[in-house]
């Protein structure tokens, strides 16, 4: 059973476009993280959000944690080819011991 569902599963856009990736669950998470993974590499942490309603910005990326701590979104402004990769949300359960990953969103940004 996948606790965290991401949408869309695939996204192909042109450079300069904006996009939003969603991460949804019926479970409450202590915190939620977003990772990016490039081919042949392991995922790399982008951000951690802890408080319901929290918004964090990382350059052109904006992350939001839902008020009920069950969902999150990632918004990218003016996407660039370097943003291409697999985006994964992940939530901590079990008192911070177990990190459960979402289904993933494969983003491709073309020139």
């Amino acid at each position: 059973t996948q606790l965290l569902k991401q949408s869309p599963q695939f996204l192909s856009i042109q450079e300069g476009e904006n996009l939003t990736v969603y991460c949804n669950s019926s479970s409450v998470f202590s915190s939620l993280q977003w990772y990016r993974q490039e081919p042949g590499e392991g995922p790399v942490l982008l951000v951690t959000v802890v408080t319901g309603g929290e918004v964090k910005k990382l350059k052109r990326l904006t992350f939001q944690f839902g008020d009920a701590r069950k969902d999150s979104s990632l918004h990218i402004t003016a996407a660039q080819p370097g943003d291409t990769g697999l985006y994964l949300c992940a939530g901590f359960t079990g008192g911070g011991n177990k990190l459960t990953f979402g289904t993933g969103t494969q983003l491709k940004v073309e020139l």
Binding site: S31, P43, G96, N97, L99, G102
Partner: protein
């Protein structure tokens, strides 16, 4: 090394054979995780270690899968009598702390192909 190291990077085996995958975490990291990833998909949790003990083995798919960690460092994931559905990339990660803000540092993975 500075990062998480996994070996082998690629392993091709025949159905029914046993395989061992090794993970060297970042020095000083007490938590160690194993995940499995199918092509372009999300990560499937397998097992988690805190020191040498495994409080959560809930993700191991069957009794053919086992893992151990010794000296609070190196971990080995063993798959016995491999099946074709075991083909995937096996990722290891370590973390300095086990809190809800802990960052997991991943290795590059071991790609397993079962023929």
């Amino acid at each position: 090394g500075a990062g998480v190291s996994q070996s082998p990077s690629n392993k091709v085996t025949e159905k029914g054979k046993d395989v061992e995958l090794r993970c060297d975490p970042i020095s000083g990291h007490t938590a160690l995780y194993w995940y499995r990833q199918s092509l372009g998909q999300g990560l499937e949790f397998l097992i988690y270690f805190q020191g040498n003990s495994a409080p959560d083995k809930s993700g191991l798919p069957s009794d053919r899968f086992s893992a151990e960690r010794t000296g609070g460092s190196v971990s080995t994931l063993t798959i016995q009598r491999t099946q074709q559905e075991d083909s995937a990339v096996y990722l290891c990660a370590s973390s300095l702390v086990t809190t809800v803000t802990g960052e997991l540092f991943f290795g590059e993975g071991s790609r397993l192909t079962v023929l």
